[in-house]
Amino acid sequence: MSDLSDTAAEIHDEFSEHVDATVDDVEARLQKLVSEYKVPLDEARRSVENHYLDEAGLDRDDLAGGGGNETVQVEDVDEPEQWVDLTAKVVELWEPRSDSVGQVGLLGDPTGTIKFTKWAKSDLEELREGQTYRLGNVVTDEYEGRYSVKLNRTTSIQAVDEEFDVGDNEDEVEGALVDIQSGSGLIKRCPEEDCTRVLQNGRCSEHGEVEGEFDLRIKGVLDDGGDVHEVIFDEEATEALTGIGLEEAKQMAKDALDTTVVADEMRETVLGRYYRVTGPTFGRYVLANDTEQLDGPADPEAVLIKARSM
């Protein structure tokens, strides 16, 4: 095969899901540019691709993965902006918080669960809760160490008959809570659609000065003397841990004319205590789903026996 027909085959593969053209059609277009108009092959390729992008109503970005996506499992997703194929069950559908989101929820396979977002403008079929789908051409994304996949208009959705138990990629970590990091306590988040970044001095790193929305969060460190685990407690988990809810935190901040009093009070209540936290790990963080204070009687027996036997 010549370079030209190789290139034609590659372009055909890229567009096979979107455009109804044969390899010969593609090759003819390339041929015309290269032979008749003396256009270099790589430039010709660009031009032909643009023609088909137009025809399919796609952006070049939509093609990034091309035809040969890697088929991955949920636990393999550890890098943003990868084009992958995934077979997963819709575990939960959530209420979209914005009109631009068609559907949002949780996908799961035997290795774990991952958030998905389907844009309204992508015009894809509705996903049903409990149904397993083969999803072709989804893009991975990352936010604060947490991965998700986005369905876009090039995504293929095919319901499949596959039954499996969705894995809970939950970890259990325990230790003394030795630090509550900055950015904890009563925080403000950017109210822009789908942003939710934490504001620094009233500014969002993406949207500038905005009127933030209050939220509670703790970024803490559990340490057992051998390993260190960073744990994020969301509003619910923070209230469970500290006994301070969002309304109370707002009142505290109002009374003190200062939001930092909330984190200070929380430090006082929880630093230096022992906890066991279970939840999924995203990047370097464990997200606390369940927190238990380890305040039962300590048992010296096992260590004592071992120490005496040395």
Binding site: A176, D179, L271, G272, Y274, V303, M310
Partner: protein
């Protein structure tokens, strides 16, 4: 994932061992490289976690506030110093009632006294009041971690044990005795409580 330096583990050591950790070192020539105290049972400690009874606090500063707290565990006393650069810990010591159980997260620091001996102390990152259950758990956990270090002390390729041997000598039996006493202490205290209480 991230280029941020990984956070240093907070080691567990009883006061009897911590106060002997006079030798400090850095792993690189970089000015900002973390400082480690060498624990005699063979581990490096950039940070420690301590729970004990805060028995006394005193402002020993001359020009500005400089607080010293004594935190007692079953084997000895940790000396905790906090001044203007540790404002939260300093105010915790200023406001603290004694005696009470406290948890201290901090960095080991050493200083040489006029007579040439080296004192080991703790520069706190945080000091918080805790309950007895937390203190008891710490004693057991610290005994466990110390035992693990003693267990690995003679292991081939245990770099910090080798350094400890060179700096402090072979004899780690005082630390084994200290941990036994700490646990037995605890056992007796439990036994003192009548079964039907």
């Amino acid at each position: 994932m991230s280029n941020a330096p990984t956070r240093e583990v907070a080691r567990r050591a009883f006061a009897a061992e911590f106060n002997d950790a006079e030798f400090t070192f850095k792993e690189s020539d970089d000015e900002r490289a973390p400082l480690y105290a060498l624990l005699p049972t063979g581990e490096r400690a950039n940070r420690v976690f301590v729970v004990g009874t805060l028995t006394e606090t005193e402002d020993i500063g001359e020009d500005s506030e400089y607080w010293r707290g004594r935190v007692v565990d079953p084997t000895g006393t940790f000396f905790v110093y906090a001044g203007q650069y540790q404002p939260e810990a300093a105010s915790a010591l200023r406001d603290a009632d004694t005696p009470q159980y406290v948890a201290v997260v901090g960095k080991p620091r050493t200083f040489e006294t006029d007579d040439g001996s080296v004192n080991v102390s703790l520069r706190p990152e945080s000091i918080t009041p805790v309950d007895e259950a937390t203190r008891d758990r710490w004693v057991v956990e610290t005994a466990e971690r110390t035992l693990e270090r003693l267990d690995a002390f003679d292991d081939e390729g245990n770099e910090y044990a080798e350094r400890a041997r060179a700096e402090y000598g072979e004899d780690v039996s005082p630390y084994r005795r200290a941990l036994l006493e700490a646990l037995e202490d605890f056992d007796n205290a439990e036994a003192d409580v009548p079964a039907d209480a």
